[in-house]
C-alpha cells in the first residue's frame, strides 16, 4: 500500500498532476460540498424549525416567561419549573392518561386493527381489498376539524347524536353526550385510532403483498390452513414492519394531541382525557386567565421531547439502522 502510494505520488509529480493532498482532500471537500448543496434547503429548515426550537425549549424551561412579562428581559429561575411540574397535583393523572392513551390506541388500532385490516383485505379479491383500504384512508385525508365534527355529531346527546338514535340504551348509550359525558376515552381512542390504523394498514399490506406467492403455495401444499399460514408464514415475514410500526406509532401517539384538543380539550372536567402533549400545549397557548405560561409549557414539552428522543434512539438502535444503511455505489464526482 505504502509503496503504491509512493508510486502514485511519483507518477503525479512526473506529469505535473495535482498532488495527493490537493487531489484527494480537495475532492473529498468538493464531494461533501456538493452533497450539502443538495441538502441545503432541508438543512436550513431543520435548523430553524427543529434544532433552534429544541435548544430554545431548554432555555425557555429555565425562565419564567409568560405573556404577562414577555416584554421584560428573560429571568432565569433555575429548575423551578421542573419542580413545579413534578409537584403538580395532576401530574400523576396526566402521566397515567398518557400511558393509557398511547398503549390502548396503539394495541387496538394503530397496530392491532392495522394488522387485521391488512391481513383481511389481502385475503379477499384485490379490487374489494383495495376498496376497503381506500375507505379506511378517508379519515386520514379529512381535515381534522371536519373529522372531529363528524365524531362529535355521532356522540352527541339526544335527539341529535347518531349513536344515541341508532342504539338507544345499548353499549353505554345514555341519551346524554358521550364524548363529554359517558365515555370520553372511548371517543378519544376511536377518533385517533380511525386515523392511526391506516398507516400501519398500508405498510403491512405492501409487506404482505411482497411475500413470494410460492411460499404461500408451498405452505398450502404442505397442508396449512389460513390461520397456520398467517401464524407460520405471514407474521414472521412481516416482523420488521410490525416492529417499525409499533415503535413509530408509539412516538407518534406520544407527541400528538390535535384530535384530543379538538374533541374534548382534555375534558370533561379536570384533566379527564388530558395527555402530556396537550398539557404542554395548553399551558403555553390556551391562556388560563389570559396568561400564556410559555416557560411552564416549554418545561412540559422538553420533558416529553426528551422521553421521545430517548425512545427514538432506542428505536434506531433496535432496528440496527446503521447496518441497514447502504453505501452509495458511486464515489467520484
Amino acid at each position: 500500500m505504502a509503496q503504491s502510494l509512493d508510486k502514485d505520488t511519483l507518477a503525479r509529480a512526473a506529469i505535473g498532476a495535482p498532488g495527493p493532498q490537493r487531489g484527494t482532500l480537495g475532492r473529498r471537500v468538493r464531494n461533501t460540498f456538493t452533497a450539502y448543496g443538495f441538502l441545503g434547503p432541508a438543512m436550513g429548515l431543520v435548523l430553524f424549525f427543529f434544532v433552534i426550537p429544541g435548544i430554545l425549549l431548554v432555555v425557555l424551561s429555565l425562565t419564567d416567561l409568560s405573556s404577562a412579562n414577555f416584554s421584560d428581559p428573560w429571568t432565569f429561575i433555575g429548575l423551578d419549573n421542573f419542580e413545579r411540574l413534578f409537584a403538580d397535583p395532576f401530574f400523576p393523572k396526566i402521566l397515567r392518561n398518557t400511558v393509557f392513551y398511547v398503549f390502548t390506541t396503539l394495541i387496538f388500532f394503530n397496530l392491532g386493527l392495522a394488522l387485521v385490516l391488512a391481513l383481511v383485505t389481502t385475503n379477499i379479491p384485490r379490487r374489494s381489498g383495495f376498496f376497503f383500504r381506500l375507505i379506511w384512508l378517508l379519515p386520514r385525508l379529512t381535515p381534522s376539524v371536519v373529522y372531529i365534527l363528524m365524531w362529535k355529531r355521532i356522540g352527541q346527546a339526544d335527539p341529535f347524536g347518531i349513536y344515541n338514535q341508532l342504539f338507544p340504551e345499548f353499549l353505554g348509550a345514555s341519551g346524554g353526550n358521550l364524548f363529554l359525558g359517558g365515555s370520553p376515552w372511548t371517543f378519544v381512542i376511536l377518533t385517533n385510532g380511525f386515523v392511526g390504523a391506516s398507516f400501519g394498514m398500508i405498510i403491512f399490506t405492501s409487506a404482505l403483498e411482497s411475500i413470494p406467492k410460492d411460499l404461500i403455495t408451498a405452505a398450502k401444499v404442505d397442508g396449512a390452513n389460513v390461520w397456520r399460514i398467517i401464524r407460520d408464514i405471514k407474521l414472521p415475514m412481516i416482523k420488521w414492519p410490525l416492529l417499525f410500526i409499533a415503535t413509530y406509532q408509539t412516538l407518534s401517539l406520544l407527541t400528538s394531541f390535535e384530535y384530543i384538543l379538538l374533541l374534548t380539550e382534555g375534558g370533561p372536567g379536570l384533566f379527564t382525557t388530558e395527555v402530556w402533549a396537550l398539557t404542554a400545549y395548553k399551558r403555553a397557548f390556551a391562556s388560563y386567565f389570559g396568561n400564556s405560561q410559555w416557560a411552564f409549557g416549554a418545561t412540559w414539552a422538553i420533558v416529553l421531547v426528551t422521553v421521545a428522543l430517548l425512545l427514538a434512539v432506542i428505536y434506531v438502535k433496535l432496528f440496527k439502522f446503521n447496518e441497514l444503511i447502504e453505501e452509495p455505489r458511486i464515489e467520484n464526482l
Binding site: 464531494n31 432541508a42 425549549l57 405492501s206
Partner: protein, 303 residues
C-alpha cells in the same frame, strides 16, 4: 404419478373446503363492512346535514319534527368573502408546501440516498428520528423563532408570526422529514448503472439529479405532492397556533372559529363549510386512489 395419489384425498375435502372458504369470506366482508360503518355514517351525516335545516341523528327534520326540511340555506356562506379569503390562505399554504417540500425532499433525499459525504449517517439517523417524532411539541419554541423571523426587515412581513408565509414555512419544516424519507426510499430503488452511465456521458451530479433521476421518481414525487397538498389544505394546529383573527386564517381555522363563535353552533352551516373545504380532497380521493395507497411504498423499504 403423485397427482393420482393426491387427487382422491382432495376430492372429498372439496365441498367442505368450499363451504369453509365461503364462511371465511363472509366473515371477512362482514368485519370489513362493520369496520367502515362509523366512517360512512360520519360522511352520510355530513352530506345530509348540509342540505337540511336541522338533523336528529341521521334524519333531517323540518320545523314540525317530521322528516324533511331540506334547504340550501346552509350554503349561503359562499357569498361571504371571509371564506374565500380563508380558501385563498389554505391554497397558498398548500401550494407553498408542495413546492417547498418537493424541492427540499427531492434534493435532500437524493443526496442521502446516492451521495457519499461526511456526515451522511448522522443525517440519515436524524431524518429517521425526526420522521417518527411529531414536531408539534416544538410549537412553543417555534413561536419564538417566528417572532424573531418577523423582526427581520422587509421579508419579516411575509414569514413572521401571523403571516401565511410563516405558517407555510413551519408546515414545510414539519412535513420535511417524512418527505425526505419517502423520496430517499424512491431514489434507493433506482438502478445505479443508469446514474453511472449519465456520469460517464458527461453529466454533473446536479444534472444527473435533474435530468436523469428526477424523471424516474415522478410517481413518488406525485404521491408526495398529493399528500403534502392535503396536509397543507387540512392544516389546523399550526395555523391555529400561529395566526390571530381572520385575516390569515385558513379553512380549518375558519371552520373552527365558526364552531366556537356561534353559540349555539349552527351545525348544518358548519357541515356545509366542512364539506365545501373537502371538495378538492374528494376529487383527489376519486381520481388518484392508486397514488394515495402507494405513498408509503417507497419509504417503508429498509425499515
Amino acid at each position: 404419478m403423485t397427482t393420482t395419489e393426491i387427487e382422491p384425498q382432495l376430492q372429498p375435502a372439496g365441498p367442505l373446503h368450499k363451504t369453509r372458504e365461503k364462511m371465511g369470506r363472509r366473515f371477512a366482508y362482514g368485519f370489513l363492512i362493520l369496520s367502515i360503518t362509523p366512517i360512512l355514517i360520519g360522511y352520510t351525516w355530513l352530506v345530509i346535514a348540509t342540505i337540511s335545516t336541522r338533523t336528529e341523528g341521521l334524519l333531517p327534520r323540518n320545523a314540525q319534527g317530521g322528516i324533511g326540511g331540506f334547504t340550501l340555506r346552509n350554503w349561503d356562506f359562499v357569498t361571504d368573502s371571509a371564506i374565500w379569503n380563508a380558501m385563498l390562505n389554505s391554497l397558498l399554504i398548500a401550494v407553498a408546501m408542495v413546492i417547498g417540500v418537493g424541492i427540499a425532499s427531492t434534493a435532500g433525499g437524493y443526496a442521502l440516498s446516492r451521495m457519499k459525504f461526511a456526515g451522511r449517517k448522522t443525517f440519515l439517523s436524524m431524518t429517521l428520528v425526526l420522521h417518527a417524532f411529531k414536531a408539534e411539541m416544538l410549537l412553543i419554541a417555534i413561536f419564538f423563532v417566528l417572532r424573531f423571523l418577523g423582526d427581520i426587515p422587509v421579508i419579516g412581513n411575509y414569514i413572521g408570526f401571523n403571516t401565511v408565509g410563516g405558517v407555510a414555512l413551519v408546515m414545510i419544516a414539519l412535513e420535511l422529514p417524512l418527505g425526505i424519507w419517502l423520496m430517499k426510499g424512491f431514489f434507493d430503488n433506482l438502478p445505479w448503472d443508469m446514474e453511472r452511465a449519465a456520469l460517464i456521458d458527461g453529466a454533473s451530479r446536479f444534472r444527473v439529479w435533474w435530468q436523469i433521476m428526477l424523471p424516474q421518481v415522478r410517481p413518488g414525487l406525485a404521491a408526495l405532492s398529493l399528500f403534502t397538498f392535503i396536509a397543507g389544505w387540512n392544516a389546523y394546529l399550526v395555523p391555529f397556533t400561529f395566526t390571530v383573527g381572520t385575516k390569515v386564517a385558513n379553512m380549518p381555522v375558519f371552520l373552527n372559529q365558526l364552531i366556537s363563535d356561534t353559540a349555539p353552533t349552527n351545525w348544518n352551516a358548519v357541515a356545509a363549510v366542512g364539506l365545501f373545504q373537502m371538495i378538492p380532497l374528494l376529487i383527489f380521493f376519486i381520481f388518484t386512489q392508486e397514488l394515495l395507497l402507494n405513498i408509503y411504498a417507497g419509504g417503508s423499504k429498509g425499515t
